[in-house]
């Protein structure tokens, strides 16, 4: 059997084989993609991997810009359709409803986003926190359980946040100290959380009532629920933290290329641990929020697992470089919330929402892939 021609790495990644081959040939006198070429030749001359012509670079930049805006445009277009077809969609009360209905999903997705930024988006080798939904359920159960036992708000809230913190610490320890892959470690922790939640609630709803819950469940200025403000405040706070301080850039470096980040002097382990701990804490916050939203701890938190993953990944579409961002996740959350809400207003069956969500993820990821910056 004759040896097959070995395709060359750069040309494959750029997707414009002939053009790029000619450019390489011109610059190096080596014919890439021919029978004698190999990945090694390209890797041995890494400077060649940069796009040679500014025209290509400009074209990439323009399409990238469009696509970054494309996600936003798509969101705005859908919202516009809802606003025209169902005028009540834009009522402050309805917008507030969307915000408060999205709060739990949004806060959990923010946690996962932190893990994805710091751990990298390769699901198997990179960061993932499957325990978030379990943390939500457990901390909600802890809050409501202590509330029923007569403890005050500070104790309940501290215990709920402490639960989240503990889950985050266990995850971080399992991943960093024991070197268990995040997918497996957080999967096991998720099982433990779900079990403990059942132990606490005995599989029944625990009602809860307290000044804190009343305050969180109320409405703030502009008729917008406090939970909505909480979601926005958390997202904006995290976004500011990652944008203004060096933390964000370093976390991104750790996620993008751990070895390079370590070589640059970043304590990668601390960042990874921090992301899981922050994610656990956000899970605890989401637990309190869900108690406030539902006036108690109800089961079924495990149903949140996949929507959280989907929302965090859907957030990529707003980002120009197709990476996880806090603002992207927030927009994706609000978009999904509006989708469900708008469908209800238009009397379209909400059975379609999941399918549209799935198709959107695929469209977004597919579009990113075509541009060569795949997830």
């Amino acid at each position: 059997m004759p040896p097959r021609a070995v395709p060359d790495r750069v040309a494959i990644e750029r997707g414009s084989k002939p053009l790029f081959q000619r450019a390489l040939l011109r610059r190096t006198g080596v014919r890439f993609g021919g029978e004698r070429s190999s990945a090694l030749t390209v890797l041995a001359a890494p400077d060649l991997a940069a796009p040679p012509v500014s025209r290509i670079a400009r074209a990439i930049r323009v399409t990238a810009g469009l696509r970054g805006a494309g996600g936003l445009l798509l969101i705005l277009a859908v919202l516009a359709v809802f606003a025209v077809r169902a005028p009540s969609f834009l009522d402050p009360a309805n917008l507030g409803l969307i915000l408060s209905q999205s709060a739990v999903l949004g806060i959990l997705s923010l946690g996962l986003t932190l893990v994805l930024i710091t751990g990298g988006t390769d699901v198997i080798a990179g960061g993932i926190d499957l325990s978030l939904a379990g943390t939500l359920g457990l901390s909600a159960a802890v809050f409501a359980g202590l509330n029923q036992a007569g403890f005050g708000d500070p104790a309940c809230a501290a215990a709920a946040l402490g639960t989240g913190l503990a889950v985050g610490l266990v995850n971080a320890g399992a991943i960093l100290l024991l070197r268990i892959p995040p997918l497996l470690a957080t999967l096991a922790v998720m099982n433990i959380c779900a079990g403990l939640e059942l132990v606490v609630t005995e599989n029944s709803t625990i009602p809860a009532a307290s000044p804190l819950i009343d305050a969180l469940g109320g409405t703030g200025p502009l008729d917008i629920p406090v939970l909505g403000y909480l979601l926005l405040a958390l997202a904006l706070g995290l976004a500011a933290l990652l944008r203004v301080t060096p933390l964000g850039l370093r976390a991104e470096a750790v996620g993008g290329h751990p070895a390079a980040a370590r070589a640059a002097g970043i304590a990668t382990g601390r960042y990874v641990a921090g992301s899981y701990i922050a994610s656990g804490l956000l899970g605890g916050v989401a637990g309190i929020v869900s108690v406030a939203f539902l006036n108690g701890a109800t089961g079924g938190s495990s149903e949140m697992l996949l929507p959280v993953v989907a929302t965090a990944f859907l957030g990529f579409m707003v980002s120009r470089r197709f990476v996880p961002t806090i603002t992207g996740t927030l927009l994706a959350t609000l978009f999904l919330g509006s989708l469900t809400n708008g469908f209800q207003l238009l009397h379209v069956s909400t059975y379609w929402v999941n399918g549209i969500e799935g198709a959107l993820i695929l469209a977004v990821v597919g579009a990113g892939r075509v541009r060569g910056r795949a997830a």
Binding site: P3, R4, V6, P7, R9, I12, S38, A39, D122, V123, I124, L130, A174, L178, R179, I180, P181, L183, L184, A185, L187, A188, V189, M190, N191, I192, C193, A194, G195, L196, L198, V199, E202, N203, L306, V309, A310, F313, S349, Y351, W352, V353, N354, G355, I356, E357, G358, A359, I361, L362, V365, G366, R369, V370, A374, A375
Partner: protein
């Protein structure tokens, strides 16, 4: 691995230990529970666990093993289980012959796999996200087909002997589902370890770019694996719905996390770090016997789940502590 080879004298023993990590863990679980619960290590109980919990989990986990072997994760195995069951039960309820219904069920699994294959091999979407999308779309499809998630029961008149045979049949005293596990695990095990195609799948799984440079048809391999995974999962769906004479929406998702756990634990605890059929089967058995053992020593359902989680975490800790010493 490489460092293990560099220091052969001490590390080989650790590597050998690791190789027996999963069987040892299973043996330990069996020993502890049989000491604590007299009814644990009886023929009736072990058969019960194998038939009721291990068999279907094993089939789905084998589908997952194929996906993991090729370097991916198939989050839509549960969807294929559900759609397979839905197509099968719909055909049976419509009065079609059972053989044709099985064909329709398999077709639904092939369709799910084809959709994934299109996304993964044609559009280059990473398997995790592609199958996540499929999972959500499958959820919608089931909601639309069942008006929001109502189970579909086979009308009493349509429960034929052939249907009962698939759901409850046995051969030589061993239920059909276990025969299928035996058949599939032998087939997939041989495929992965003894055939050229299997080596190619593992090569793609270990390093897809290197496999591509070596001239392997990576896209075709990924597509075939996706289709095979969907088809095998649909088989589990057919067996499940034939067993209960009904299709219950989203029931398949219950298998998703267990199959991921089993396939990845099997992979992590293997000496080579590759997905392998014995590892997956041991993982599934470990989960099944842990749950059953905790039940028999009198833990209630809630604590069982905590216990299972803790035991899985302990297994992982032991496994990766061993790996540290090796690596």
């Amino acid at each position: 691995m490489s460092r293990a080879q560099a220091r052969p004298s001490r590390s080989i023993s650790a590597a050998e230990l690791l190789r027996f990590g999963l069987p040892a863990m299973l043996a330990l679980v069996l020993a502890v529970f049989s000491a604590l619960a007299p009814g644990f290590l009886t023929v009736a109980n072990v058969t019960g666990v194998l038939v009721n919990s291990v068999a279907l989990n094993a089939i789905v986990a084998l589908a997952m093993t194929l996906a993991v072997a090729s370097g991916g994760t198939d989050l839509s195995v549960g969807t294929a289980v559900d759609l397979g069951g839905l197509a099968f039960i719909a055909a049976v309820s419509a009065g079609q012959p059972v053989a044709l219904a099985v064909f329709f069920g398999l077709l639904a699994g092939i369709g799910t796999g084809l959709f994934n294959a299109l996304l993964i091999a044609r559009l280059g979407v990473t398997p995790f996200l592609a199958t996540l999308g499929t999972l959500f779309i499958g959820h919608s499809l089931q909601q639309l087909a069942t008006d929001g998630g109502n189970p579909v029961y086979v009308p009493a008149g349509r429960i034929t002997p052939a249907l009962a045979l698939i759901g409850h049949g046995s051969c030589l005293g061993i239920p059909l589902s276990l025969w299928l596990v035996l058949l599939l695990s032998t087939g997939i095990g041989l495929l992965l370890t003894r055939t050229r195609f299997g080596r190619e799948v593992l090569a793609v799984g270990i390093q897809a770019p290197a496999a591509l440079y070596s001239g392997l048809p990576v896209r075709r391999i990924l597509a075939l694996i996706s289709i095979a995974s969907g088809t095998i999962a649909a088989l589990a769906g057919i067996l499940l719905s034939a067993h209960v004479n009904a299709y219950v929406p989203y029931a398949g998702n219950a298998y998703l996390l267990d199959s991921i756990g089993a396939a990845f634990i099997g992979t992590a605890l293997s000496r080579t770090g590759r997905a392998n059929v014995p590892g997956t089967l041991l993982g599934v058995a470990l989960f099944g016997f842990m749950t059953n053992g905790l039940l028999l020593i009198g833990w209630n359902f809630y604590w069982q789940q905590v216990g299972t989680g803790v035991l899985i975490l302990l297994t992982l800790i032991l496994a990766f502590a061993g790996r540290e010493r090796v690596g």
